[in-house]
């Protein structure tokens, strides 16, 4: 590792201008730094300049008309501490709580998790199941993309080199659950994770699976099979079997393919059963 210069712009305009000016050799962006600094230590990136987002006004959380907007640099611990998040988006709360440790979550951010786009991200699957959208800022103006369109593969997103993630928007409160399997509960990577949510407005389920490359995926057909209410046991079991066959999984040092397929089915069963359709989250 060689040293770098830290740029600390005081406004969004200044930040975008700095990214633009450095187009030939763009600075690396740092939010919490919990992914970036490891990438620097491991030599995966070796930036000459690093652009800090700490002075940008993005440590925000806002509920308007039932939609939640989370600023990209809000520490995950603050997201977890919002009582409305736990009540109205229980699956999101569980996913955030699953990230690393308390001390990690005091710095790690939602923007950084999306920017890293790790195949084992705990936040991407739940954001997919909640139909979340990402708001980007750049020199050509703002744009909004679904998380599904934004995340491509490990370290690959739809973000252009001169753009920044401003915020993430979750359109409505949803009864939801996020379950994972790991060897160690904290600071470990999920072997498989399943996020499920029910849209009260559209009366439909969504199902996402994480913990496998190239990226977490939505299982639209499985979600459709779950129907428009709490599925009965036979329907749920059939959907779980379908889910375990539908995912494209391989064996690696963390778990075998067969074990992972079983995990998909088991976690899906448990997650759907854990979602109280008459509980909070229903408008």
């Amino acid at each position: 590792m060689t040293g770098f210069e830290l740029l600390v712009p005081a406004s969004v305009e200044e930040a975008v201008a700095a990214l633009r000016a450095g187009a030939a050799d763009p600075p690396a962006v740092i939010a919490g730094g919990t992914d970036l600094l490891l990438d620097i230590d491991d030599g995966r990136v070796d930036p000459r300049r690093v652009l800090s987002l700490r002075r940008l006004p993005w440590r925000s959380l806002d509920w308007t008309d039932g939609a939640l907007t989370v600023g990209s640099t809000l520490p995950l611990r603050s997201l977890e501490d919002d009582p409305e998040v736990r009540r109205r988006l229980p699956g999101l709360w569980q996913a955030v709580h699953a990230v690393g440790s308390v001390a990690l979550r005091h710095r790690a951010t939602l923007g950084g998790n999306l920017g890293r786009a790790a195949p084992a991200s705990d936040l991407v699957p739940m954001l997919l199941a909640l139909d979340a959208e990402v708001d980007l800022v750049g020199p050509r103006g703002d744009r909004r993309l679904s998380v599904d369109a934004f995340v491509r593969a490990s370290r690959r997103t739809a973000l252009l080199p001169d753009e920044l993630i401003r915020s993430v928007r979750i359109p409505e409160s949803r009864p939801s659950a996020y379950l994972w399997q790991r060897v160690r509960p904290a600071n470990d990577i999920s072997q498989i994770a399943v996020g499920v949510a029910f849209s009260p407005r559209e009366r439909r389920w969504s199902v996402a699976v994480g913990g496998m490359p190239p990226r977490p995926a939505l299982l639209a057909e499985v979600a459709h099979d779950l129907g428009d209410a709490t599925p009965d046991d036979g329907v749920l079991r059939a959907a779980a079997v379908r889910a375990s066959r539908a995912v494209s999984i391989t064996s690696d040092q963390r778990a075998s393919e067969e074990y992972r397929r079983r995990l998909v089915a088991t976690l899906l069963l448990r997650a759907v059963r854990a979602v109280p359709l008459d509980g909070e989250g229903r408008p």
Partner: protein, 158 residues
């Protein structure tokens, strides 16, 4: 664009960061620049919690934090136990419970627990405190004595 070195305070005293490279980690600033060796380096990858310090009262992994990114903050380390009532209380509870053997993980556990008690108060269920310490590893004790130390620290908090 980089602002001049900000007034970082460590254990209540302004830290002299003259000439510090922008890429320096808080862990290295504390241990090598300021010679505060209480904070330990276990893994340098965020996995062990040995390097935990408080930044404005919140537990933070100093190995994964750029010092420049916390300019203007108050950093509290185990070396500041004399001036931080919560850290002092948790240290006494850990000693009373015999919650350590080699002691390498202890500064991290003590500071992380002091941070949790500041955040959540002593009325927080002990399960929540233990859950909040999942990011701290100990290679010696088998954790049973640490769990007792946590319960004792909670019982003795005001």
């Amino acid at each position: 664009m980089t602002p001049p070195p900000g007034p970082l305070r460590v254990n209540g005293r302004p830290a002299d960061l003259t000439g510090m490279p922008d890429s320096e980690r808080l862990l290295d600033t504390l241990r090598w620049r300021l010679a505060l060796k209480g904070t330990k380096e276990g893994c340098r990858t965020g996995d062990c919690g040995a390097c935990t310090v408080l930044v404005d009262g919140r537990s933070t992994l100093s190995c994964l934090t750029l010092t420049r990114e916390v300019d203007g903050s108050d950093v509290t380390t185990i070396d500041g136990a004399a001036d931080d009532a919560e850290i002092a209380r948790v240290s006494r509870a850990f000693a009373a419970a015999g919650a350590l053997q080699c002691g390498y993980c202890t500064p991290g556990f003590v500071v992380a627990l002091a941070g949790l008690l500041k955040e959540r108060g002593s009325s927080a269920p002990v399960e929540e405190l233990l859950d909040g310490l999942q990011g701290n590893l100990c290679r010696c004790t088998g954790y049973a004595a640490i769990v007792r130390g946590v319960a004792l620290a909670r019982a003795e908090a005001p």
